[in-house]
């Protein structure tokens, strides 16, 4: 429809689930997670690596002022490409988010968005389309049932890791504009390298005592 090629996210298992093999510029991607410490933003930061590699900045709109850049740096992000926007009020945050999405100079815009009526999300989607940016919206899992203007809606659920080699998460596509939703994959983020590998849910659990500690 828009003729823009799909950008691979760098997470092969996620690309395999997406119908076009990647994310399109000018669209919104919703990362849903329930509760705290679920791991969705870690995956989002890894997925943003590939998009910013072709030029453009990663703009993080952080209204609550909790974003911690050393974690992003440890995941391999280049801090020169990150711009942190810390508005004081939620209204300012929404304005900043829209302005950043509208700017072609930003490759990916990351923001935590708890509640927003659908009209607001539509505005953001139009802004992303104008600017050709990819918007990563981190949202609570409760919005799962609501209709959405985002191109892709992903649900990230933490899994108890049975190996100390990495962190396990389940990635599910709830909704995808072109193609069918419903694909899911279990991935593991390696503790040493930060790379994301798919794991079979039936992988045998090795005993913790024998493996080397992280």
């Amino acid at each position: 429809m828009d003729g823009r090629e799909a950008l691979p996210t760098g997470i092969d298992s996620l690309d395999a689930l997406l119908p076009s093999g990647g994310l399109h510029r000018g669209t919104l991607v919703e990362w849903l997670a329930e509760g705290e410490g679920a791991g969705a933003e870690t995956l989002a930061l890894i997925a943003a690596t590939q998009a910013t590699r072709s030029g453009g900045a990663l703009v993080v709109v952080d209204h609550r002022q909790t974003f911690y850049p050393p974690a992003a740096a440890a995941l391999g992000r280049n801090l020169d490409e990150i711009v942190l926007v810390r508005p004081r009020t939620a209204g300012d945050a929404l304005w900043a988010l829209e302005q950043s999405l509208r700017c072609p100079g930003a490759a990916v815009v990351l923001c935590r968005l708890d509640r927003l009526h659908n009209r607001g999300v539509r505005r953001l989607q139009l802004a992303a389309e104008t600017g050709g940016t990819i918007g990563f919206l981190m949202r609570p899992a409760a919005v799962r049932s609501l209709p959405s203007w985002a191109d892709v809606r992903l649900l990230v659920t933490p899994l108890p890791s049975s190996t100390p080699s990495g962190r396990r998460l389940r990635l599910e596509i709830i909704r995808c504009r072109k193609g069918t939703g419903g694909g899911a994959v279990d991935v593991e983020i390696n503790h040493e390298t930060g790379s994301v590998r798919p794991v079979s849910p039936l992988a045998p659990a090795t005993s913790a005592g024998r493996s080397a500690g992280a």
Partner: protein, 489 residues
Amino acid sequence: MVLYDRARRGGFCVVTCTPEAERAGVRPGLPLAEARALLAGIPHARYERHDPQADREALRELAARCQCFSPYVGIEQAEAPESLLLDLDGVAHLFGDEPGLAAQLVKAFKRKGYRVRVAVADTIGAAWAVAHFDPASGLRPVVVPPGESGHALGSLPVKALRLPGTVLDQLHTLGLDQIGQVLALPRAGLPSRFGPVLLERLDQATGRLGETFVPHRPAEPVEAEWPLEHPTADRRVLEGVCRELLGRIVAKLSARREGVLRLWCCLETVKPCEPVNVSVELIEPRACLRDLRELLRLRLDRITLSAEVCRVHLLVTQTAGIPCHQRELFDIGQERQRRRELARLLDRLSSRLGAQAVLRPRICPDHQPEYAVRFRPVVWADKPDQKKRSAQRVCRMALPLSRPVRLQPRPVAVEVMAVIPDGPPVRFTWKGRSYAVERWWGPERIATGWWRIRDVQRDYYRVETEEGRRFWLFREVREEDWFLHGTFE
């Protein structure tokens, strides 16, 4: 440190270098690859592209500083000016005498980190020649006594006369290498042999012909103001006034081919209220009227007017030259376009949210996690960070999942239940939810030195709950209290 630029034959060659590099054998004109090979043993060698525009700006700034020594300061007329000319008529006695003035000049420049060669003489030509080519001027300022210019010039090479290359070649083939030899020749024959230039320069140097220079005048500040006949607090009127004033400012600046970097707007209100000051800071110099209007409007939207405004005054406090980009035939300037758009976005965000709200993170080599990162507003000019490389190295040593993506602004106390010996709590409660710890990594002892007023000693644990959620907890060693510092979102 080596500055390089494109050579005529293609490739890069050295333009100039520091004495350290010179000692290693690097000379102007050397191909860059050779220079790199010569300096391979020096680890901190830096190579930067030569920027003549920046040189000229710096020279203009120095000329402005020299105003305290002489009312007339000029920059030499040359393609790549390197010298400043000061007229010392009637000024020397204020500093004692001429050698005293020269010594103070050297000291003033040394304080700024510059090495200078100073020469004082009757004429511009003589002073230039002595400063550039007299070996003594490198050690201390040389003062040529009045009337003895000819004598001082005698032993200097002919290059010191500022002659074009063709004339120099001719003199060289004839074996005339020193000015003294040229002075000895009969004057009448010189113009026909070498052209009028040689005689002109000789006369200028000896004082027969007068030479003047154009004194450098610091640019007058660009400002515009508008007194309102009927004081008003109506936003639309003020916006219109600002539009008109910005138009005038942009017109003045575009003649100079400069853009606004910092703009200051003062709204004087009807007494007894204080005037309202607003400032707009930009990342890149901009002269586009539409952009400036929008940025000013965004700033003014944030202020509340308590009284009516009777005068609007706009002053440009900082400008910078706008480099002209030659459009390439196939416009591969997409990268540049993107960067420009990003700069526009950041200006807009800084204008409305404040400069402290749009930041670039910088890793600091500090153990305490709250201080391990410093934020710098994007509108503050970026200085090349030498420590950046070492700091990035510090963070790359950290494992990918070792630091939480989200850090609480302040560590939050959590209620714990039963602690594993030498480990984290078995259960803890946070935000009304209870978590059972299944796996944990640690402890990571983070302690700051006693010299810090509020020093900390913490044992950090990365815990994973039975659901798979991960948190960053720590125990304050001295008080034995447990806190949650971050979440691995």
